[in-house]
């Protein structure tokens, strides 16, 4: 009789790795998305060029290859990252590149009249972004950000490549040791599904909260 409790424990350990990767990766992705998204709208050509290069590069190459480079090639230039750091960095930058387009699109979809009202009221560029444009653009970004976070969650499985024991990695170990495929993979199927559901519910709730005033309900 297989001692499933111990094996499930292994998978739970992996689930924590997956969860940390997802959370930290999303944090990096969010920062990267805003930096690059705002960068693409900058008045300075150099800043725009840098942002475009980042976005195109990370969207145009696979996450698998990026991970390989960061983990195995960067050390040749004396930059070594732990597997976890490398995973977070690559996942974050990769998803951030997609997020940058979302940030840019949402900002551009705020009506030009809102910019003009800000000029007439003599706001600085920063004040305009911070108090008027971003608060209106954010609700437009959130649904796609939610999808991106779920994409990131699913992409975490590639980190087993650099010997990080995430959930998928652990399931494979359990499968190898027990000869049973059904139990470990059903377990992680359910766990992935729970995590993605939690992400999309959380984003949905946040979206509801920040758009409350906009559809005419008293704030």
């Amino acid at each position: 009789m297989t001692d499933w409790a111990g094996y499930i424990g292994l998978i739970i350990d992996g689930a924590f790795v997956t969860l940390s990767l997802t959370l930290c990766g999303s944090a990096v992705a969010l920062v990267a998305a805003f930096l690059a998204g705002l960068g693409r709208l900058s008045r300075f050509t150099a800043v725009r060029a840098l942002a475009v290069t980042y976005v195109e590069f990370f969207r145009g190459t696979s996450i698998f290859v990026q991970l390989f480079w960061v983990y195995f090639v960067l050390p040749l230039f004396d930059i070594s990252l732990s597997p976890f750091q490398a995973g977070v960095l690559v996942l974050g930058l990769n998803v951030g590149a997609y997020g940058a387009e979302v940030v840019r699109g949402a900002i551009k979809s705020v009506p030009r009249e809102q910019f003009e009202a800000c000029i007439a009221l003599n706001f600085t560029q920063y004040q305009r972004m911070r108090y008027i444009i971003l608060p209106q653009a954010l609700p437009l970004m959130l649904p796609t950000f939610g999808n991106n976070a779920i994409e990131l969650l699913k992409a975490t499985a590639v980190v087993s490549l650099i010997s990080l024991s995430d959930m998928t990695f652990q399931a494979q170990i359990v499968r190898a040791q027990t000869g049973n495929t059904f139990v470990p993979f059903l377990t992680i199927l359910v766990l992935y599904f729970i995590m993605s559901t939690v992400i999309s519910r959380a984003i949905g709730l946040y979206e509801k909260r920040i758009t409350r005033g906009l559809d005419g309900v008293r704030s």
Binding site: E113, Q114, A120, N122, R218
Partner: protein, 262 residues
Amino acid sequence: MNKPIIRLDKIVKAYGTHTVLDGLSMDVKAGEKIALIGPSGSGKTTILRILMTLESISGGTIEVDGDYLYHMKDASGALVPANEAHMHRMREKIGMVFQHFNLFPHKNVLDNVTLAPILTKGVARAEAEKRAMELLEMVGLADKARHMPAQLSGGQKQRVAIARALALSPKIMLFDEVTSALDPELVEEVLNVMRRLGEETDMTMLLVTHEMGFAHDFADRVLFFDRGRIVEEGPPDAIFRNPKEERTQNFLRKIIAAGHRV
């Protein structure tokens, strides 16, 4: 002594090859109430947008309250294009109310009015709110302070927009067809606010309008524009009752035919 508060000198404005203003010069005295009238496309909005720094100019100079708007003097005294800091200082003198209100939809009425004084003038919140409530009182909307813009009618939105612009106490106010996006029954409530402003303040006001009756009562001076030029100007009675230029006469005839009161 009595220098004009606004002086446009040979202003040129072109969009690509299309020249909208071709060397327009005009003066506005402090406290003057000016109505700009004229056919569609004659450049009325363009003039207000240029004064609000929402457009750039292709040539000429503008002085506002003794300073250049789009230029500044460098160390040798030569005129050079103004930097953002200079424009920022100049914009303090000017406020604008738009045809489509352009309220901030995510802020309630009170925040719409207080945000600019708090951010751009460093006014304390309590003080900004006190002043905002006075202004909302003046435009008859004190009871709507906590409403969101989406909950207001067009006329109410426009009155909030007027209060919002007034909250910065500009010396010059620009109004671009502020009633033409409104349902007919809501026009009067906005015009009443404007009328009071005209009577009770010494602000300089430039108003683009198709409401000829209102322009007649409100303005000290009426400028009739056509194709980017001032065709005729003078006191309202002279322009509306006794226009000299044929183009002015034709324009007014068409407006009256379209059912506007003069």
